[in-house]
């Protein structure tokens, strides 16, 4: 509370007092009082008035500061009427009532939006599950009638599947609830299934694949890691250069396992590196017309954060290496025995 403004607000009261003083002075002088007596009375009056004003000012200031503190500490600030004490002053009670009304309409709005979002998320999930049926049917049709035409169709189907998966995980990552379950997972299996998901795209781009991941067990959600690897493989295909190659390797470190996926593609410029995990960031590679969405790596980062996987990118002009570090601490091995 600003003291200056408070003083300004008290101007009417002060004016009333001054007028009272003037009236009293006239009355006292008319009754033949001494100047000293009048001065004494006025001094006492003045002292009482200023004390009153400042005591009230400090009391109010304390009370309001507490309220401010309370509001600042609150995560959902609009809930302040729920925890503050009901004020005693008549006008304050009116403000309190207004705050209550504002809170109520806010809560209603939030509830409605949350519901809407939940329904939308459910619809997206349902839609994705539905679209997977025709994708599966087309995939089977192509696999049963192999030809060069079918191969190209299969590659495109893999693309469609990746995009739908992206939408699914985007819908899931936006929600706070846990959609994953952590269990013992063989990294080798996850890598192989991610490659299988992109088989025809990888074959089409003549990618050479080397794997150096042997029997590395980590605790994580295999579906999420598979999705993350799919995004990384998709990028490696999209941003490939001459004689593309993709190398998977896993290294044990002190407190975990680092799975790195490195390619020899066009790489990421140093200036873009700090921002690649931002939503919608496409950078130089996006500007040269590679159909970038700025969603893939953003989702990878989000999912990694949720799963507690470290995600790092290394790129020097040519080639990109993405490192996923899985924690493998004493706690996990202790619990698992």
């Amino acid at each position: 509370m600003s003291g200056k403004l408070y003083l300004k607000n008290q101007v009417p009261a002060i004016l009333v007092n001054l007028m009272g003083m003037l009236a009293l002075a006239l009355f006292l002088f008319a009754n033949g009082n001494q100047f000293q007596t009048v001065l004494f009375i006025f001094t006492v009056w003045f002292i009482i008035l200023t004390t009153c004003l400042s005591v009230v000012y400090y009391a109010r200031k304390r009370y309001l500061n507490q309220l401010l503190d309370m509001a600042e500490q609150l995560e959902e600030r609009y809930l302040i009427p729920e925890i503050m004490t009901i004020p005693r002053k008549a006008d304050e009670q009116v403000f309190y009532q207004i705050m209550k009304m504002a809170e109520k309409s806010m809560l209603e709005k939030i509830g409605a939006i949350q519901n809407e979002r939940k329904e939308y998320k459910e619809y997206i999930e349902q839609w994705i599950h539905e679209v997977k049926t025709p994708i599966t049917a087309m995939k089977l049709l192509c696999e049963n009638n192999r030809s060069s035409f079918a191969r190209e169709m299969l590659a495109e189907l893999e693309n469609i599947n990746q995009y739908t998966e992206q939408a699914l995980y985007y819908a899931r990552s936006e929600h706070t609830e846990k959609d994953y379950s952590v269990r013992e997972t063989d990294l080798c299996d996850v890598v192989h299934s991610a490659i299988a998901d992109n088989k025809y795209l990888l074959r089409q781009s003549n990618m050479t694949i080397t794997i150096n991941v042997i029997n590395n067990r980590v605790y994580t959600d295999d579906k999420w890691v598979r999705f993350i690897l799919n995004q990384i493989i998709g990028n490696a295909i999209k941003y490939r250069a001459e004689k593309p190659a993709l190398h998977f390797s896993a290294v044990k470190t002190n407190d975990g396992i680092v799975l790195s996926v490195s390619d020899n593609g066009i790489g990421i410029p140093q200036s873009d590196l700090p921002r690649i995990f931002e939503k919608g960031f496409t950078g130089r590679n996006g500007r040269i017309g590679k159909n970038s969405t700025g969603i893939g790596l953003y989702l990878c980062k989000r999912l990694c954060d949720k799963l507690g996987i470290g995600l790092a990118v290394h790129s020097e002009n040519k080639g990109t290496a993405i490192m996923l570090s899985f924690q493998l601490n004493d706690f996990v091995t202790g619990v698992q025995g």
Binding site: H129, T136, L140, S193, K199
Partner: protein, 221 residues
Amino acid sequence: MKKIFIVEDDFTIQAQLKTLLSGNGYEVFAVTDFSQTIQQIKAFVPHLVILDIKLPGNNGFEICSEIRTFSDIPIVFVTSSNTDMDELNSIMLGGDAFITKPYNTAILLAKIAALLKRAYSSPQAEFFAWNGVTLHLESSVIEYNGQKAELTKNELKILYYLFKNAGKICSRNDIVDFLWDHQLYVDDNALSVNVARIRDKCNKIGLTDFVKTKHRQGYTL
């Protein structure tokens, strides 16, 4: 011949699964009336059931628990929803495998073969023979007239595919596809190198011109 029963409500997938599975040596029957699923399963007596979860009438979980009341045949759940709840449910109710759509056919076939092997422990062919040449799968050896040559993993898989399709022409693309399905990521050049090595080994055991090249088409035995 192992019998497989398919419970799937999408008719294209049903028909294509039938083609795929019968092409891989299974006798296949797909449900025709979803109100009679259990009766049809009882009548067909399959060795394995492929079960979708979202179905008209009773869902896959209900059908699964009903099957479990009279039989413990392997049940493979195939579904497009890959939530943890569904996976957990399918395992709790006695499902043996959970595969999400769109599935990789190689993985589906491998899973089916593994489940059938575990449930019925049928002695699988551990060797192939063609024109007096024997391919031993377990020991990864090719044998001709008592002479043997050891094969690498890649060479064994290539020969396995050629033996399986003996007499037919196998296109290079199909062979590479097959190798990728078995987690051997070989490219076109590497395939040529591997076939050259196989020919070398065959020559050493007195087997000349065993793997023939069909120009622009592929290889054949």
